[in-house]
């Protein structure tokens, strides 16, 4: 029963995520899924994350009419850069962690501009100052959103801890 419920939750979650991704992409040209992966990276088991990332990237590739694997590649490259930075300095908290995340998100947006076109037609796609500014603004908003989510999750954890203390 628990497995059935889990499958059901995951399926509904996939549909909801695709819907939200579609809304955000078309409304603000803003990719939500990468933020989730960045948030979940190093927080949950990598195997589970890989499965979810693979399935979601497949879905997004099909719905956005990309070649299969493009979205996964666009997730992996900025995560790789993030991982590379994490070997030199702490990316757990502090301003530095947010700067690294910001750079990763910005890289993701740049890849979003060039990679699909490169792998579909062999051309680099269109990159101009306006699009770069949009990417920069999107990255800034993303990092603010990330900060907000971290703050909320941190608050929830704290509340959980105090309840534990009270129980003792």
């Amino acid at each position: 029963m628990k497995i059935v419920l889990t499958i059901l939750y995951i399926t509904v979650g996939f549909f909801l995520l695709v819907f939200l991704e579609s809304v955000f992409v078309n409304l603000f040209s803003f990719r939500l899924i990468f933020l989730l992966f960045l948030f979940a990276y190093k927080k949950i088991d990598w195997k589970k994350l890989l499965v979810v990332a693979s399935v979601l990237s497949l879905v997004m590739d099909v719905t956005m009419h990309y070649k299969l694997g493009i979205n996964l590649l666009m997730f992996i490259v900025p995560l790789g850069m993030f991982s590379l930075f994490s070997t030199f300095s702490s990316v757990e908290d502090g301003i530095g962690s947010y700067i690294v995340r910001f750079v990763s998100i910005f890289l993701y947006h740049i890849l979003n501009l060039i990679l699909p076109s490169l792998l579909l037609s062999g051309t680099l796609g269109v990159i101009n100052g306006k699009l770069l500014i949009y990417a920069l603004i999107n990255s800034l908003i993303s990092i603010l959103l990330f900060l907000l989510v971290n703050y909320i999750v941190g608050g929830m954890r704290k509340r959980g801890d105090t309840s534990k203390i009270r129980l003792k």
């Binding site: 549909f15 695709v18 579609s22 190093k42 693979s54 879905v59 719905t63 070649k67 996964l72 590649l73």
Partner: protein
């Protein structure tokens, strides 16, 4: 020591995600070059495309709404411009209508049978209780008390009082208005009373305030509803059409017939009139 091992395993695990992810992406990419994954694409498309399209539509609706709200100032400006343009068109149209009406009145006046008299074109300022009419021509222009006011061959009224800038005309509806008329069945042709008009009966027209009454119609006459009432009074001095017979009362016990007169022109709608000045 144990913690260090665990940390090393974690780093490897996270990096393994990147390595395996790259491999999986590569496999996906290669598989997509084969037509073997088409059923997979079709299946995913069947399941997720409607959701994606729904999301897109929701986004477009929200975008459209906020786009409209954002452009509200522009829309307001455009609305005001359109309003001004509409007013300008209305004004032009009204001006054109006035010219048209004046032209129509002039044409009627030109076809007058009696061309010996001189007429002055005037404008109606006000109609009071369909009994009196104020016009914009007065003593200064040569208008005299008792002058006939008409439109073509249609009788409008008699000038009752004159000042330097305007005059007051008594319409046939007024209770103080009374004059001699005759009734004919020939009617008018092209706004003119044709010659050799058969007089069916003579009568007297009196204003009733709300209506115009005709009395003293001969009992032996063959007057009927729709016949034309023409003025025949020395104060008017010419033949002008007043209106048509309506609601003829034919009482065998009475010594004469009576009826109402329906004017040919609606005095409330008149804008241009002609005042006899000579």
């Amino acid at each position: 020591m144990l913690n260090r091992k665990k940390a090393t395993k974690n780093i490897l695990g996270d990096n393994a995600l990147l390595l395996v992810g790259l491999v999986v992406a590569g496999i996906f990419f290669l598989l997509d070059t084969l037509s073997a994954v088409k059923p997979l694409r079709d299946g995913i498309s069947f399941l997720f495309n409607p959701i994606y399209v729904d999301g897109k539509e929701v986004a477009n609706e929200v975008k459209g709404y906020f786009g409209t709200v954002g452009k509200i100032d522009e829309f307001r400006k455009e609305f005001n411009e359109l309003k001004v343009a509409t007013y300008e068109k209305d004004i032009n149209n009204a001006h054109y209508q006035v010219l048209l009406e004046e032209n129509d009145s002039l044409r009627k006046q030109v076809t007058l049978g009696n061309m010996e008299k001189k007429y002055l074109l005037g404008k109606v300022l006000e109609v009071e209780n369909i009994s009196n009419m104020r016009i914009d021509k007065g003593e200064k222009e040569g208008v005299k008390k008792g002058a006939v006011v008409s439109v073509g061959n249609m009788f409008v009224g008699l000038v009752q009082s004159v000042d330097s800038e305007g005059a007051l005309v008594v319409l046939p509806y007024s209770k103080s208005s009374t004059f001699k008329v005759f009734v004919t069945n020939v009617g008018v042709k092209d706004g003119k009373i044709v010659e050799g008009v058969p007089i069916l009966s003579k009568g007297v027209v009196r204003g009733g305030g709300d209506d115009i009454n005709i009395e003293n119609i001969s009992m032996n006459s063959t007057v009927k509803d729709g016949d034309i009432v023409v003025t025949m009074d020395e104060r008017i001095g010419g033949y002008f059409v007043l209106g048509r017979i309506a609601n003829l009362v034919d009482n065998p016990a009475a010594t004469s017939k009576s009826a109402k007169v329906a004017p040919l022109v609606d005095y409330d709608d008149l804008m241009t009139i002609f005042v006899e000045i000579e």
